[in-house]
């Protein structure tokens, strides 16, 4: 590890110890009460993950086919 990444890691550790809330993820996913907004975010994330997984699965199938044909 070079000097700059070490300094960044040290600064991040200090910040995490001193102001942990500032480093937490956005409050939509954390520290929020259940309700329509939280449900909406969960469904939206699931939809987006489903779409992305489908596209990535398509790429995986194509790559597998590519490898199989090259052998």
């Amino acid at each position: 590890m070079t000097l700059a990444p070490r300094r960044v890691a040290a600064a991040a550790t200090v910040a995490w110890l001193v102001v942990p809330a500032a480093l937490a993820a956005c409050p939509v996913c954390f520290q929020v009460e259940d309700g329509p907004a939280a449900d909406g975010v969960r469904v939206a994330v699931l939809v987006l993950m489903g779409v992305a997984t489908g596209v990535l699965a398509g790429f995986a199938v194509f790559i597998a086919r590519f490898v199989r044909r090259s052998q």
Partner: protein, 188 residues
């Protein structure tokens, strides 16, 4: 530079045109996927969500579904027939795509005249955004079809067949997106 070949590559099993259009469709799926995710977020978190059957012209949607499905079937059929016949199918399909846009335009005009505009609520904001983007894809597809038809007299038949296969894949995607929109906005 990638050579323009119409032969299938031994390694991938598809030609460059087909591979290119699949990659393009993958990027389009991500674009619409992000918007469908936004739709899910807004719909689930909304305190009230109007029923599509109550606020939209369902028969406009049904008509457009029939037109676009027939159009897609024609273009898919154009892949399996000789290029000369395939061009005729593609031409009829292009006219049907234009009919889709006309119907959509009439529907939008009526809705806007009634004050059903994007700023009214999130339902109409999403409705105009998604159907507008889809209509833009239909318009681009029409341009692609015209390009294929006009270029058919200048390039070999094999090349035209490859182009028809590419636009057929594109129109299948556009049709699937429309069916999803029809389900989300008009029927649920």
């Amino acid at each position: 530079m990638i050579p323009y070949t119409i032969d299938r590559r031994a390694d991938s099993g598809v030609n460059n045109v087909t591979l290119g259009i699949w990659l393009f469709i993958a990027s389009e799926v991500m674009l619409f996927g992000a918007l469908f995710s936004s739709y899910a977020l807004l719909r689930v978190s909304a305190p009230a969500w109007p029923h599509g059957r109550d606020v939209l012209g369902v028969w406009f949607g049904v008509g457009n579904t029939v037109v676009l499905s027939v159009m897609t079937a024609l273009v898919l059929r154009a892949r399996a027939v000789p290029p000369a016949v395939g061009r005729q199918f593609l031409a009829v399909g292009t006219v049907l795509a234009a009919v889709f846009l006309v119907i959509k335009g009439l529907e939008w005009r009526g809705e806007i005249a009634e004050g059903l505009v994007p700023s009214l609520n999130t339902f109409f904001a999403m409705y105009f955004t998604l159907t507008g983007l889809h209509a833009l894809h239909v318009a681009c597809g029409i341009v692609a079809n015209v390009w294929v038809l006009l270029g058919a007299s200048r390039v070999p038949d094999g090349m035209t067949s490859g182009r028809i296969r590419a636009v057929a894949l594109y129109w299948t995607f556009v049709d699937v997106v429309w069916l999803t929109l029809f389900l989300l906005f008009y029927l649920t």
